[in-house]
């Protein structure tokens, strides 16, 4: 028989480390349905009948964040057989706050006090017996980092699941208890006896998420409302605050009698000393730049480049194609199938896997920064800037990572707790030009702007401007508006990250990337290869006679308002969606240069765009600031957690790129050459629309 244990606890309480120790390599990582909140499940190493369900790290079971709603719905509706509540022993007061809420759900619960090694080192004493007796549940101690006591904690859950649940602790004072008793009495025939207390408190707090599900009559609700109002008047506070206050008062009393802190006031811990330097008023920004430089130097510098080049040029350039070629030839496969497999599938999937070394290195380094506690400080340092356009400091990291590659940039959005901010950051992060887009910039500036390096720098500024402008515009839209996300963030103490944890984390990410992005790319590669190499009678032909050319001609009109409405422009833009750097190769192929010489290639590309700098600029802007490459699009779909949101992200990004290119080309042509047509009118209208969206006043509800 399967037994389900749910892991619940605050962020930074060591829950992930515990989950890794308990489940080993059996984890399944996905998303909770419809939201971007991660869902992890695994089986207990020593007892495969036990399923461990990891819940998101939360501070409370309030209805205000996605993580909290996901967790409480799971605990209340799915009813796991036991809850293992992890409590950080070095921060026991705030951690027990969640515990008081969990106990009210009425499921068998074990409280595991974690980080006992740090507690012992600090010289603090925790009276486990006393806490267990007061809370009315089993309490165990452990150190997840050193793997001490973790299986004992799981076994305690298995034992607890067999026993009846004791009555939950009496947290609240006289008049609140009185009101709660009234509520309990009037709903006791509607809910399980076990969850009676939970629902009563939720009704008292006027928690709509909860009492919607109970279908209470209007009469009953207004009757109960009177009791709540009486209590509020007596306590001179709102119901929610009364509950929170009393919970903390209760915990304070419990902690003061069961925890002895060896307090040394004024003495700085190592963590304090590190923090003094890293968030120093003068040093914070230069140090951040230095740390980011080191991260980039390792990931994109000699080591990263070597690994990427090796994967692309040697592994998927020679070894794998060579081996596949040899194998296919030996079994006598016909040529076009061989070409499909080698050029189409191996080449295309190789491009995807070529990302893997850099992603892995970037993620290892970012995980170290995250685990050590530095990322929270980065958000702390930069919050002021990002708040101006409706995001928080946490959106900064994806933007920085985005200068390297959009794929890890989108994946690193997971550290943003607020769902709206996370969705917005996923939509915006890839506007910062990545390394591959710089290849387009390079060739186009050579062709049209005499290789002016300022153009490349300028593209970063355009990217930043887009993030700011569309950040503000999105924030004013209904789906992203609403209460500003409170930036009330814990700054955890700095500590050495767990190497094992980092490798498991990075492996999860890389595996997810390879499976999900890999399948989409695999299909896309086959389709594109077929289009490039066959005509509609399914005969093997050159690119110039292929289906792709016909399709390019058919869709070229879309790009006409941007100035490059030719089949070559269309095909190059489509191939840029496979991989941004692919656009340069395609252009080179289509331009028919007189020789391989760079000067000739540049000349041929110029003529492809009618020797018009505005057309060249328009092509460049469109391909840099529209949706990212297929791999990044696939990642965005995955990280947004729903098809609808993935599609919205894609369409939004396409519109931004199209608008930017259209406005630049047409207004540029109007100003410099006096060209005026219907597209010019469109361009001015679009500029006006963006200005209105940007500056319109926000409706306050």
């Amino acid at each position: 028989m399967n037994l389900k244990i749910a892991l619940a606890g605050n962020p930074n309480c060591g829950k992930t480390t515990l989950f890794n120790s308990l489940t080993g390599s059996t984890q399944y990582v996905g998303n909770w349905p419809g939201v971007t909140v991660e869902k992890k499940e695994g089986r207990l190493i020593r007892n495969k009948d036990v399923i461990i369900q990891d819940l998101p790290g939360i501070y409370s079971l309030s209805p205000y964040s996605m993580e909290e709603v996901v967790s409480r719905n799971y605990l209340v509706n799915e009813k796991p057989d036991a809850i293992l509540n992890i409590v950080d022993g070095t921060n026991i007061e705030r951690n027990l706050y969640l515990t008081t809420q969990i106990l009210e759900i009425g499921l068998p619960t074990v409280v595991a006090i974690n980080m006992m090694d740090a507690v012992d080192k600090n010289g603090d004493k925790i009276d486990i017996e006393k806490i267990s007796k007061t809370l009315g549940c089993r309490v165990v101690t452990m150190s997840a980092l050193n793997e001490e006591g973790v299986f004992e904690a799981a076994n305690a859950c298995i034992e607890a699941a067999k026993e009846p649940v004791k009555e939950c602790p009496h947290v609240f004072s006289g008049s609140v208890e009185h009101a709660l008793a009234h509520i309990e009495e009037s709903i006791q025939d509607k809910v399980d006896k076990q969850t009676l207390r939970w629902h009563a408190i939720k009704i008292f707090e006027r928690d709509k998420e909860d009492y919607k599900s109970l279908h209470l009559s209007e009469d009953l609700l207004s009757h109960l409302e009177e009791h709540i109002k009486d209590c509020e008047e007596e306590m001179d506070d709102d119901a929610e605050s009364i509950i929170t206050n009393q919970r903390y008062e209760y915990i304070q009393k419990l902690v003061s009698t069961s925890v002895v802190k060896k307090h040394e006031k004024g003495k700085l811990t190592t963590s304090d000393k590190i923090d003094r330097v890293l968030t120093n008023r003068v040093l914070a920004l230069p140090l951040f730049a230095l740390i980011m430089f080191v991260v980039y130097y390792i990931a994109m510098g000699p080591l990263g480049t070597f690994l990427t080049d090796w994967t692309n040029d040697v592994l998927f350039g020679e070894i794998v194609p060579g081996a596949v070629d040899g194998f296919l030839s030996s079994i006598g496969v016909i040529d076009w199938v061989k070409s499909l497999v080698i050029d189409g599938i191996v080449g295309g999937v190789g491009t995807v896997l070529g990302f893997v070394p850099q992603i892995a290195i970037l993620f290892i380094l970012l995980s170290i920064l995250e685990d050590s506690g530095y990322m929270a400080r980065v958000a702390f340092i930069f919050d002021r800037i990002f708040r101006r356009f409706g995001l928080s400091g946490k959106s900064f990291i994806p933007m920085v990572v985005g200068t390297g590659c959009g794929v890890p940039a989108i994946m690193s959005c997971r550290t943003i707790e607020e769902e709206k901010d996370r969705r917005m950051t996923i939509m915006l992060a890839t506007f910062i030009p990545c390394a591959a887009k710089m290849e387009i910039v390079l060739i186009m500036t050579q062709a049209f702007f005499e290789g002016n390096a300022l153009i490349a720098t300028g593209m970063y500024f355009v990217g930043i401007a887009i993030v700011v402008v569309f950040g503000i515009i999105l924030k004013k839209m209904n789906i992203f508006s609403g209460d500003p996300a409170p930036f009330v963030m814990e700054l955890p103490a700095y500590h050495f990250p767990s190497i094992k944890g980092i490798f498991i984390h990075v492996w999860e990410r890389v595996k997810g990337f390879m499976i999900k992005a890999g399948t989409i790319i695999f299909l896309a590669c086959i389709v594109l290869w077929l289009l490039m190499n066959f005509n509609f009678s399914l005969q093997l032909v050159d690119l110039e006679e292929s289906m792709l050319k016909v399709i390019g001609e058919k869709i070229a009109f879309i790009f006409a308002p941007l100035g490059f409405g030719t089949w070559q422009g269309a095909v190059a833009s489509v191939s840029a969606e496979i991989a941004k750097e692919q656009a340069t190769a395609t252009l080179g192929m289509l331009a028919h240069a007189a020789s391989e010489d760079e000067a000739d290639v540049v000349l041929a590309i110029r003529s492809l765009f009618n020797n018009n700098s505005w057309t060249g600029l328009s092509f460049m802007l469109f391909n840099i600031f529209n949706a990212p490459c297929l791999v990044a699009i696939a990642t965005a779909f995955r990280e947004q957690g729903s098809f609808k949101w993935g599609l919205f992200t894609f369409i939004f990004q396409m519109c931004v790129g199209y608008t930017l290119a259209l406005c630049t080309y047409n207004i540029g042509m109007f100003v410099t050459a006096g060209v005026f047509n219907i597209a010019t009118i469109f361009a001015f209208v679009l500029v006006l629309v963006i200005l209105i969206l940007l500056f319109r006043p926000v409706k306050k509800n």
């Binding site: 501070y59 409370s60 309030s62 205000y64 921060n91 007061e93 705030r94 706050y97 506070d237 709102d238 929610e240 605050s241 929170t244 206050n245 903390y248 008062e249 802190k261 968030t279 120093n280 008023r281 003068v282 914070a284 920004l285 929270a376 958000a379 702390f380 340092i381 930069f382 919050d383 002021r384 800037i385 708040r387 209460d483 500003p484 409170p486 930036f487 009330v488 963030m489 814990e490 700054l491 955890p492 103490a493």
Partner: protein, 73 residues
């Protein structure tokens, strides 16, 4: 009304009332800033906002705009 925003770096204050409502208020209280809690203002971020405080033995960062709803004695 004196609020946490007025407290200088390196000083402590006791919260007597939490103004505001909804999500922000609930979140602040969930994090342990309740009536009667003592908080210590540790530092201000390099760009002048947010601030870092010590409450119930741990470090918390909070925007000045949110510190304004915390009335102190």
């Amino acid at each position: 009304m004196k609020t946490l925003k007025d407290v200088a770096v390196g000083e402590s204050a006791t919260i007597i009332k939490i103004h505001g409502e909804g999500k922000v208020k609930r979140r602040i209280m969930d994090m342990g800033i309740t009536k009667g809690t003592e908080v210590f203002v540790r530092k201000v971020a390099p760009l002048g906002d947010p601030i870092e405080i010590t409450v119930r033995g741990y470090e918390l960062s909070l925007r000045k705009a949110d510190a304004e709803i915390l009335e102190i004695s």
